[in-house]
């Protein structure tokens, strides 16, 4: 890769004694859909605001095609943005809202008309052109906001939790729209959310934020299947953590002893561990099976409760040492007699289990 399209360099932002963003460095290629994912207060919105120009970073730089954006005021950055709250101009119609960025740029009227029509077609709201924002639903308002943000063909589109105020069904519908619009326009999108499902569904790449730093950057699959830290493993998807004693590591696979004394070999080690070091073993709930397979390891548990969740069942279990275990096998893989509370063995593939420092 030669010169990155958008480049965030050692970004740091402090508010008085509180540092919201510690040291964020990230290169974003043109056309990528990158999501900043993280719990609230992890610095993802602050980073986005620095790109938008709403907050000056304490140090570091934001470069677009090699040129620093920091000295450029918001209104000259030519960046599109959709906000968490509804920010349509309430006194202007839908069409006037979409036309606004073109009007302030003094584009010819014919071009404005055509672009507004194109944009409303893109978000499929042609018939709402003459309505006022107050007469639109939340989902429609955010689609108009999207049309307004894209009307001037910005190289970058920022989206700050744009769907968090919508209900689940509408959210999924608009996620589909956003994916389609990203495909059709090829615009580079930086998307902020605290919803991991949304991040996994939408993004090419996810930057997972924690306490003002990026914990891991990668595709959704990377983060889910190859978490770099226990925080990533815990944040993306559901995870079980079991206390384990590290015995030995060879070629990145470790042998460990669980609390009940059983020895498991072939788990993936994240980091280097000494002999006898206390560690934690992470196993995804859906990595457990109810039948033994050739390479599987076993775990003795007491099944406390079983619930039916459609395609999966959710089993609440406990180890002899009292550690809770969440098990979610597919419903088809289980027989009815498996469901009664009892003590039994469950099985997991050690290569889907990760060892982290305690």
């Amino acid at each position: 890769m030669t010169q990155p399209f958008l480049s965030i360099r050692n970004l740091r932002k402090a508010f008085g004694a509180i540092t919201a963003v510690h040291d964020v460095t990230l290169d974003i290629p043109k056309g990528e859909f990158l999501t900043f994912l993280g719990p609230s207060g992890s610095g993802k919105s602050t980073t986005l605001y620095a790109i938008a120009g709403f907050q000056d970073p304490s140090s570091g730089d934001v470069e677009l095609e090699g040129r620093s954006l920091l000295a450029v005021p918001s209104h000259r950055r030519n960046i599109g943005m959709v906000f968490q709250r509804y920010t349509l101009f309430p006194h202007l119609t839908v069409a006037e809202n979409v036309a606004f960025p073109l009007r302030v740029r003094r584009r010819p009227e014919a071009e404005v008309k055509k672009k507004v029509a194109d944009m409303l077609a893109l978000v499929r709201l042609e018939s709402f052109a003459q309505r006022l924002p107050g007469a639109l639903s939340g989902g429609q308002q955010q689609r108009v906001a999207l049309a307004r943000a894209l009307a001037y063909d910005p190289p970058i589109l920022l989206m700050d939790e744009p769907l968090s105020a919508l209900d689940k069904k509408l959210r999924e519908e608009i996620q589909g729209e956003i994916r389609r619009i990203h495909r059709e326009t090829g615009v580079t999108i930086l998307y902020v959310t605290h919803d991991q499902e949304e991040a996994l569904h939408l993004s090419d790449r996810i930057a997972l934020f924690r306490d003002g730093r990026i914990e891991q950057t990668g595709s959704g699959e990377d983060l889910y299947l190859r978490p770099a830290t226990d925080f990533v493993a815990g944040f993306i998807g559901n995870s079980n953590f079991l206390a384990a004693e590290h015995l030995d590591t060879k070629d990145g696979t470790a042998t460990i002893r669980l609390a009940d004394g059983s020895v498991v070999s072939g788990v993936r080690a994240n980091g280097t561990f000494g002999k006898g070091q206390k560690t934690r073993l992470m196993i995804r709930p859906e990595a457990f099976g109810m039948v033994r397979r050739p390479a599987s390891a076993e775990l003795n548990v007491e099944i406390v409760d079983v619930a039916f969740y459609g395609e999966r069942r959710r089993i609440v279990a406990r180890t002899a040492g009292g550690e809770g275990v969440d098990i979610r096998p597919t419903s088809a893989a289980m027989q009815l007699q498996d469901l009664t509370p009892c003590s039994r063995q469950v099985f997991f593939d050690p290569t889907a289990a990760f060892l982290f420092p305690a």
Binding site: P73, H75, R77, T87, F89, P90, L132, G134, A135, R148
Partner: protein
Amino acid sequence: MPAGLNGLLPALVLIVLFFVVPVLALLLRSVTEPEPGLQNYAALLGDGTYARVFFNTFLVASVVTIVTVLVAFPVAWMLAIMPSALASIVFGVIILSMWTNLLTRTYAWMVLLQRTGVINRTLMAAGIIDQPLPLINNLTGVTIGMVYIMLPFMILPLVGTLRAIDPMTLRAAALCGASPFQAFRRILLPLSLPGVAAGGLMVFVMSLGYFVTPALLGGTSNMMLAEMIAQMIQSLLNWGLGSAAAFILLVVTMALYALQLRLVGARRISGGA
């Protein structure tokens, strides 16, 4: 009478007794004194001297309203975006000035504005002017004194309107490419118009009938309607003419109020939805 209106009866009696009856008495006097007929109105509307007073009244009220809006807007905006603890202190100062006696405040302006007043002396001492500026007994003096008194009536409704505007809307406008001036002109100003209209009308109507400040800070050449009415009734004892002038003022005020209701009511201000 429908049963539901029984509770309203005392209020209704009060309004009729203290508002409707006096206004009707006023109207009656204006067409019966000194003899039945419309001669009082004909005199007021036909005479050049009276017409000048009417014109001057509207001129002063208009100038005061415009200046008040111009001064109040930045103050209201500052109050709207200020941290609320600080804003309530500034509000306290503004309200306190409203509670201070009107005459005291007007005399204070006389001290400041007169030929040998603080302002002129300071400017002359600083060498900025050679001759004292004519700041009193003219339109300038009336405007300064009245704007000062009217400011809270403009600021308070305006702050309410400005606070209802989501600051994110202005950030969105900036990212859309609007310069600070464009964002003000195309977004903030239209959205704050209901507050400007409400405050502006209040100030205009209050200014139309204002007496103390124009009487003390104004000159004889720009007399306002309230002064004229006082003169007609107190000095000339011409109750008929005074009542007619007062009634004209009332009709004009009500017409303005109706106009504002139409304008603001018809505007598209669905911002709260």
